[in-house]
Symmetry: C2
Subunit: 355 residues, 2 copies
C-alpha cells in the first residue's frame, strides 16, 4: 500500500512527522514517499503543486497531507500561491466528497466556546462537495460591466454551478453515511435565492426516494449557521455544496473547541482519498514544537479505514488517542489546569506507546 506524504508548510512538517511515526509502528506493508507541496514546493520547484508531487499523489493509494499556506506568499500571483496546491489536488484526483467530522471529545468539552451542555457528546459529520460549485465554475475573471448597477465600470465575477450527477453522487454519499449513524441528513441550500441551490434541493429530494429509512431535512445556509450555534446536537449528517461547506465545516469545527483534534477525508468515487487535519498551517507557531499532531494522526486513521481497508489498525490508533487523552496529556492548544502540557513530539511518542 503506497502512501504519498505531503507535509506542506508551517506546522505541516512537524505534525506529519508524528503521524508517520504512528503509521510505522503498525506493522503494515506501507510504502511512504514524501514530496513537497504548497509554499515549500514553490520554494523548491517554483510551483505549489509540481508535476512530480502530483504524479506521486496520483500513483499512491492514498495521500496524507499536512497543511499549506504562509503570509509570506500573499504577494505571489494567485496561481502560485500555496492554496492552489490543495485545490489542484482535489480537482486532479476527483476528490468530490469531503468528510469533516465535528466531534467534541469528552475530556475537552470545557475547551469549547459553547456551554458544556450544548456540546457534550457532540458528533456531527459534515459532508462537503469538493470539486464543483463556485470554486471551479467557469467563466470567471474581470471585465467591464455591461449591465447591473454600474454599467461601464470594472467588475469581477465567478460562476456558481452544479450539475445533476454531481449533486446525485454527493447525496448518495450522505445518505449512505447517515445509515451508519443516526439516519438523519440535513441538506443545506439557499434555494430561496439561488438557482443552483434550488436545483440542489430538488435533486437531493429525488435521491432521497431511494433512502426511505433516512430522514431528510432541508435548511437554508443562514439558518444552518445559526442552528449550529444554538443546538448543534440536533444535526447528524450535514450535506452541502463546496462554498457553504467551507464556511459551515469550519464553524462546526470551532464549536467543538478542539479543532486541533479534528481529521478530514476527501474521497474520490473509488474511495481513494486525501487525508488532512481540519486546521491550517499555523505559521505563527511553526517550528516551535507545540502544534497538536492528533488531528493528523486521526486523519491517518481515517486513511487506514476508508482507503486502505484496515479498520483494525484504524481502531488501534483511535483507541491510542483516547488513551493519551485519558492519561491527561495535552498540547498547548487543548491544555487546561490539571493536565500535563506536552510537545508535538511527546504527544506523538505517547500515541506510539499506546498503540
Amino acid at each position: 500500500m503506497k502512501i504519498a506524504v505531503l507535509p506542506g508548510d508551517g506546522i505541516g512538517t512537524e505534525i506529519i512527522a508524528e503521524a508517520v511515526k504512528v503509521l510505522k509502528v503498525l506493522d503494515l506493508p506501507l510504502e511512504m514517499e514524501t514530496a513537497p507541496v504548497g509554499g515549500a514546493a514553490y520554494e523548491a520547484a517554483g510551483h505549489p503543486l509540481p508535476e512530480a508531487t502530483l504524479k506521486l499523489a496520483q500513483q499512491a493509494d492514498a495521500v496524507l497531507f499536512g497543511a499549506v499556506g504562509d503570509w509570506k506568499y500573499d504577494k505571489l500571483e494567485r496561481a502560485l500561491r500555496p492554496e492552489q496546491a490543495i485545490l489542484g489536488l482535489r480537482k486532479a484526483l476527483g476528490l468530490f466528497a469531503n468528510f469533516r467530522p465535528a466531534i467534541c471529545y469528552e475530556q475537552l468539552t470545557h475547551a469549547s466556546s459553547l456551554k458544556p451542555e450544548l456540546v457534550a457528546g457532540l458528533d456531527i459529520l459534515i459532508i462537503r462537495e469538493l470539486t464543483g460549485d463556485i470554486y471551479f465554475g467557469q467563466p470567471r475573471g474581470r471585465r467591464t460591466a455591461v449591465d447591473g448597477h454600474f454599467p461601464g465600470s470594472e467588475e469581477a465575477f465567478d460562476t456558481m454551478r452544479y450539475s445533476r450527477p454531481e449533486i446525485e453522487r454527493i447525496a448518495h454519499v450522505a445518505f449512505q453515511a447517515a445509515r451508519l449513524r443516526n439516519r438523519k441528513v440535513t441538506s443545506v441550500d439557499k434555494a430561496n435565492v439561488l438557482e443552483t441551490f434550488q436545483f440542489w434541493k430538488d435533486v437531493v429530494t429525488e435521491v432521497h426516494a431511494q433512502y426511505p429509512d433516512v430522514e431528510l431535512e432541508h435548511m437554508y445556509v443562514d439558518n444552518a449557521a445559526m442552528q449550529l450555534v444554538k443546538a448543534p446536537k440536533k444535526f447528524d449528517v450535514v450535506v452541502t455544496g463546496n462554498m457553504f461547506g467551507d464556511i459551515l465545516s469550519d464553524e462546526a469545527a470551532m464549536l467543538t473547541g478542539s479543532i486541533g483534534m479534528l481529521p478530514s477525508a476527501s474521497l474520490d468515487k473509488n474511495n481513494k482519498g486525501l487525508y488532512e487535519p481540519s486546521h491550517g498551517s499555523a505559521p505563527d507557531i511553526a517550528g516551535k514544537g507545540i502544534a497538536n499532531p492528533l488531528a493528523t494522526i486521526l486523519s491517518a486513521a481515517m486513511m487506514l479505514k476508508f482507503s486502505l481497508h484496515q479498520p483494525e489498525a484504524a481502531a488501534r490508533i483511535e483507541q491510542a488517542v483516547q488513551a493519551v487523552l485519558a492519561q491527561g496529556l495535552r498540547t498547548a492548544d487543548i491544555w487546561s489546569e490539571g493536565t500535563q502540557k506536552v510537545s508535538t513530539r511527546e504527544m506523538g511518542d505517547a500515541v506510539v506507546a499506546a498503540v
Copy 2:
C-alpha cells in the same frame, strides 16, 4: 415624515403593532400608512410585492418592515414566494447598505450559547452589501452543461459579481461607521478562491487609503465563521458581500443569544431606509401573542436616527427598552428564572410607559 408600515406574515403583524404604538406616543409628526407584503400580499393581491405596496414604500421617507415567509407558500413558484418581496424592495429602493448590529445585552448574557465571558459586552456591527453579489447577478438558470465534470447533463448556475463602485460605496459606509465606533474594520472575503472577492479585497484596500485613522484587517469567510465563535469581541465593524453577510450576520446574531432583540437597517445612498427585526416571521408562534417585539421597536429607533433625523426620539426608545429589561420584563424567548414573563402586547405597553 411619512412611514410605510409593512407588517408581512407570521408574527409580523403582532410585533409591528407594538412598534407603531411606541412611535405614536413620541409626539412627532409621523404619518404612517400600512400595506400588505409577502404571503399576506400574495393572498390579498396575488403578488408578494404588489404595485401599490412598492409605490407606498417608494414615496415614504422610511419603511418599517415586520417579517415575511411561511411554510405554506413553499410550493409556490419562486417569483411568487414571500421572500421575493424583501429582495424586490432592496433592489427597487437601492438599499445597498445593510446594518446588522450584534449586541449582547447585559441582562441577557446568560441566554447566549457561548460562555458568558466570551459575549459579555459584545457589540459588533455587521455591514452587509445588499443589492449585488450572487443574489442579483445575471445570467442564472438551468441549462445543459457544455463543460465541467459531466458535459451534456442538466445543470443550474448563478453569477457572482461585484463592480468597483459597488464595493467602493459599501467600503466607505464601513469606514465611516468605524469612525463612530472603535475604528477597526474587518473585510471578509474569499480572495484565495474567488475572482470577485480578490477584487473586493483590492478595492477595499484602495478605499482604506482615505481612512488612515481606521484599522483594516482582511479575513477569509471560513476563518471569520470560526473567529466569531472563538473570540467575537475581537471584531468591531465587519464588512462583507451579500452572500457571506447573510450567513455571518445570522451567525453573529445567534451568538448573542437574543436575536429577538436585534434590529436592522437597510439604507440607500441618501439614508432612506427599510428597518426590520433581524429575526424572521416565526410562523410556528404566530398569533399566540408571545413574540418579542423589542427587535422591531429598536428597528423603529434606528429609523428615527438614520432616516428621520430624530436622534433624541431614538434615544428615548432605546432607553425605554433598557428600562423594561431592568424591570425584569421578558418575553418567552429571553425569559429565565427570576424574571417576569410577559406577552407581546404587555412588552409593548411597558415600553410605551417607559417612553
